[in-house]
């Protein structure tokens, strides 16, 4: 582990060292990439350029930044100087292209503006040098109110697909919760729950293994084939009610759950899993597929349930979300 990281650490240190000795250029130009260059945007752009220039000059001269002539509120200046007591910093960038964000009254930051991801080189009291991303808040008059070093860049620029999106991750956890409730309903023989979670015209697909006799040169051969039949919700529930009545207990278990989102209907998910069913007088294993609709988050519904026998279904024939054409 040490060996693999050492070159990276050395490269980082070298980069920071060269940043350190070459920052003499001092001037960092900030351009807002999303701004329509109104008066306030231009003022903030200019304020930021000036204050970064002052940070660079102060760092070079090993002095405290002079903020009294900058567009910084007294409270903001006090905060920046407090940070400076513990760590001085400068910008080695010649050009910073970032968005100017507007923050509302209700937001954590109050009404004003915000610029994130301003890359600064920070020198701690102990001499350690690190590259960090600063966040600068402006009040509604365009004065700098606060500077702080934000959480790592990737946390805020995280939306690189669902896997990096906490909101989407949370949704998938809610799906696991729904699946666990669904399983619990069978174990509790809770007819009402199952009745409520299926949409009124849910599609129920049931696979059944049939043996087909075939004649060949070598005589008669029995081939197994899985035949799919479609049932209505009502037919399925009637069968289920009989199963509940004739079994003293039911133990359903789910494993190998896979969750996928529909590309066109992002609130519709497909769930594939392996179901093990054990009850007083019957047991089996099968591939279960559920199409779950989260358009009403408080009341997800299942539009499709398919079951195929585990033993006789080739994996490429397992039903999944891509097998359905959704009409809305």
């Amino acid at each position: 582990m040490t060996r693999s990281y050492t070159p990276r650490i050395i490269l980082t240190q070298l980069f920071l060292f060269f940043s350190f000795i070459s920052f003499g250029q001092s001037q960092t130009k900030v351009l807002f990439s999303n701004s329509d260059k109104g008066q306030m945007e231009l003022q903030i752009e200019q304020s930021l350029n000036n204050v970064l220039l002052e940070f660079n000059s102060a760092f070079k001269a090993s002095r405290t930044p002079k903020l009294q002539n900058q567009k910084v509120t007294p409270e903001g200046a006090a905060r920046i100087l407090k940070i400076w007591e513990n760590a001085s910093f400068f910008s080695s960038e010649t050009l910073i292209n970032e968005n100017l964000l507007q923050t509302t009254e209700e937001s954590t930051f109050g009404k004003g503006y915000q610029v994130r991801n301003i890359k600064l080189t920070v020198k701690g009291k102990d001499g350690t040098i690190r590259s960090k991303n600063a966040v600068i808040n402006f009040n509604s008059s365009g004065l700098i109110e606060e500077l702080y070093f934000g959480i790592e860049l990737q946390d805020y620029n995280a939306v690189k697909g669902d896997k990096q999106n906490p909101i989407e991750f949370g949704r998938r956890q809610v799906i696991l919760d729904v699946i666990e409730n669904f399983k619990t309903a069978y174990n509790r023989k809770d007819y009402d729950f199952i009745n409520n979670i299926f949409s009124d015209n849910a599609l129920i697909i049931v696979g059944k293994t049939i043996k087909q006799a075939q004649l060949s040169d070598f005589g008669r051969l029995d081939q197994k084939k899985v035949e799919l039949t479609v049932k209505t919700k009502q037919q399925y529930l009637e069968t289920l009610q009989k199963v509940f009545a004739t079994n003293s207990f039911i133990d359903v278990d789910f494993e190998k759950i896979n969750i996928m989102k529909h590309p066109k209907y992002p609130q519709v998910y497909g769930v594939n899993l392996k179901q093990s069913w054990t009850s007083s007088n019957y047991s089996d294993q099968g591939y279960l597929f559920l199409m779950i609709d989260f358009r009403d988050e408080k009341k997800p519904v299942i539009h499709v349930r398919s079951w195929q026998p585990f033993k006789d279904t080739p994996s490429e024939e397992v039903i999944e979300l891509g097998d359905f054409k959704i009409n809305n």
């Binding site: 513990n86 934000g150 949370g170 409520n196 039911i250 133990d251 959704i326 009409n327």
Partner: protein
């Protein structure tokens, strides 16, 4: 492997604390004996009597266990009891590591217990803490571990090494409050939609203390979090059983009452791929999710 050793360690701690705090608390009485009345539980067991396999139903309603002479070995996928009955006969009981089997109660029953516990302690402890801020001029993320590439076992400090507790960094302050329950915080309580079995949810007010009270031996649980803007997701992972609870706080803003959603007893070992890839196949089956007229071509 590391997780296993940690789990065993936590388990030992769990029982020691449990026993020292309350001598009457007994896992055999509270968990095993009620479970043995359940056919569902019995269908999941492998049982040995003096080293030889016997049908699990032979243990149905058995109660004459020596309540002091037992051990439990918990692994990632199984739980094994070794017990002696009052006649001196040795039994081994093995079943999957699933919370409902261990507790002898299903998700619905456990949720009802949890919500009652949180509500009860809320009424005992709800009070507004005095304001206690730390300057949040800078944020340093201390990440202890990561999980699923998105969640972190983390906390936040400022440049002075003080824990962040600031109304300008509420998500970070909440995570710190959950990670360090004994430290003071300006945060007091939040409004929670407790999601229950059967598409129901109950609105309750919860203090940070009461939430922790609902999770016995809170210090042994792993706290995982992810923050994106004003959205905070926290997983409370049980130290040795395969489940977690999830807290989601949305629209976190200064001056607002904190509002959240709480999902409990979510299994965390039964999935293969949370983000499976969609494959467009033949599209043979038409589903109408509006008018709900379905047909198989």
């Amino acid at each position: 492997m590391k997780r296993f050793f940690l789990s065993v360690l936590c388990l030992i701690l769990f029982f020691q604390i449990g026993r020292s705090q309350n001598n009457e608390k007994n896992l055999i009485k509270e968990n095993l004996i009620p479970s043995l009345t359940s056919d569902r539980f019995l269908s999941n067991l492998i049982v040995k009597k003096n080293g030889k396999p016997i049908p699990p139903k032979d243990l149905k309603d058995k109660t004459n266990w020596d309540e002091k002479g037992f051990s439990i070995e918990i692994k990632k996928d199984s739980i094994k009891w070794a017990l002696i009955d009052t006649d001196g006969v040795l039994f081994q009981i093995l079943y999957p590591n699933e919370y409902s089997l261990f507790y002898g109660k299903d998700k619905k029953e456990l949720q009802e217990e949890l919500i009652e516990k949180i509500k009860f302690t809320t009424s005992e402890t709800l009070q507004i803490d005095s304001i206690f801020y730390t300057p949040a001029d800078s944020v340093i993320t201390k990440t202890l571990q990561t999980k699923y590439g998105i969640l972190k076992n983390q906390f936040f400090e400022n440049q002075l090494g003080e824990r962040i507790s600031s109304d300008k960094l509420i998500p970070e302050s909440i995570v710190n409050s959950l990670m360090f329950p004994n430290e003071r915080t300006f945060l007091s309580f939040f409004s929670l939609a407790f999601h229950k079995y059967g598409n129901q949810s109950e609105e309750i007010k919860v203090s940070f203390n009461s939430l922790r009270e609902g999770l016995p031996q809170y210090e042994t649980w792993s706290i995982w979090s992810a923050i994106q803007g004003d959205y905070l997701l926290v997983l409370f992972e049980h130290p040795f059983l395969n489940f977690h609870h999830m807290l989601i706080l949305n629209n976190i803003a200064r001056g607002n009452v904190l509002k959240g959603d709480f999902y409990s007893f979510i299994p965390n070992s039964n999935f293969e791929e949370l983000f499976a890839t969609y494959k467009s196949n033949k599209g043979l089956i038409e589903v109408n999710i509006k008018n709900q007229e379905n047909q198989l071509d």
